[in-house]
């Protein structure tokens, strides 16, 4: 892909996402969730989507709002069931959404494979469990593995902390999570960031997602998310 474009609005950043697309959505719970891009996608109107994300939405915002708007045909995730995942729960129980549950590490590694040009890989996770049913199994050097296929996205919507104008990205703490992996695994990669800086500002040793992976960048206003306090 050629160099990234820095756009003014989240709405422009999700332009052209087509009905039926597979959309990789970053974030682990609230951390790294690209809220503005998801809201823009709801506004943009694409439907019949397959969403790949760790969770299936919380409350009625973010991914849950996209689900509630009826735009998602299928969710591929590791952990749909949360205390406040009632939007997904209701859609699932009423048969209005498909679900593929994937172990969290396989979700990451399958996207990594898509981004790295790996055709498939033998993975020890889930061997002998219901999530390996129907999958090819192989013994290698005395250990049993399951064959896992890449997960490729048409679009990735991710959230990073800072971008330079070329599209190099750095993240912040555990909000990094799926972002760098999804950025490698989709045809079009859109990043919302808190800050856009001039080229040459980021430390080349500390860039996490090199610009080659990023197509569109949009700066968004920080939002103050409510999180649970300490246990």
């Amino acid at each position: 892909m050629t160099r990234a474009t820095v756009l003014d609005t989240a709405r422009e950043a999700v332009d052209g996402i087509e009905d039926g697309s597979t959309v990789l959505v970053g974030g682990f719970g609230l951390a790294g969730m690209p809220f503005d891009l998801i809201e823009a996608l709801i506004d943009q109107g694409a439907k019949d989507l397959t969403v790949v994300s760790n969770n299936a939405g919380n409350g009625e915002w973010g991914l849950a709002a996209l689900l509630k708007a009826g735009r998602v045909r299928k969710v591929v995730c590791s952990f749909p069931r949360q205390s406040d995942s009632y939007v997904f729960d209701e859609l699932y129980r009423s048969g209005r959404i498909e679900l593929e549950v994937v172990p969290q590490g396989n979700l990451a590694e399958r996207m990594r494979a898509a981004g790295a040009g790996i055709g498939a890989f033998y993975c020890p996770t889930a061997v002998g469990t219901p999530l390996a049913e129907g999958k090819e199994v192989r013994e290698i050097d005395g250990r049993t593995y399951v064959l896992e296929m890449p997960i490729k996205g048409d679009v990735a919507l991710i959230s990073a902390h800072t971008a330079d104008r070329m599209g190099n990205l750095v993240y912040r703490k555990t909000a990094r999570n799926f972002g760098p992996v999804m950025a490698t695994a989709a045809t079009t990669v859109v990043a919302q960031v808190s800050e856009v800086v001039e080229v040459g500002t980021l430390d080349p040793e500390a860039v996490v997602t090199p610009s080659i992976y990023v197509d569109r960048v949009v700066r968004v206003e920080p939002r103050h998310l409510q999180v649970e306090g300490a246990r």
Partner: protein, 219 residues
Amino acid sequence: MSTQEHTDRGPLDRDELAARVAQDIPDGSYVNLGIGQPTKVADHLAADSGVVLHTENGMLGMGPAAQDDEVDTDLTNAGKVPVTELPGAAYFHHADSFAMMRGGHLDVCVLGAFQVAGNGDLANWHTGAPDAIPAVGGAMDLAIGAKDVLVMMSLFAKDGSAKIVPACTYPLTGVGCVSRVYTDHGVFAVGPDGVTVLETYGLSFDELAERMDVPLQRA
């Protein structure tokens, strides 16, 4: 070595159980503590133990839960609870984090469980209830992702049946992956050689043998 029977006292309470697990974690080891009860183990690790905590959402060197002003939405543990960062921490993305687990680099992982089979099979992600929405998270990755996988749970279910079983009836999380089970009523080694009782609390070896369906061996 012989089975330590502590019949002069009741079962371990939750804090005692966490402390008992902590006691078996070697100094300087790299450890993942699963969501829920296992998290408590951190409170019982000596300050100078040098144990480094991994959280699978992408961090080594995790500190205690964040208090008040420390809360930062960008810094949580795998249970999505705000936590803190210790000196020497490192952040990495999900593929790297699970590569670290899957590659066998963690020394110890402590997990909760619904059932553990005598051979070390683990069931901790799904009760098998037909209307339950399946959700696995990192459970299966954790189950195969450490040199030592320890389980921490109550020994008996609410209906009085033992949760160490001849064979898991709930859907499996991992096959033959657990090495030890720490419970309120005893500590058990499990694996290819079956179940060995290392310690009992509040019940004798014989009382345990009577209440459990899996054959028990003395240490």
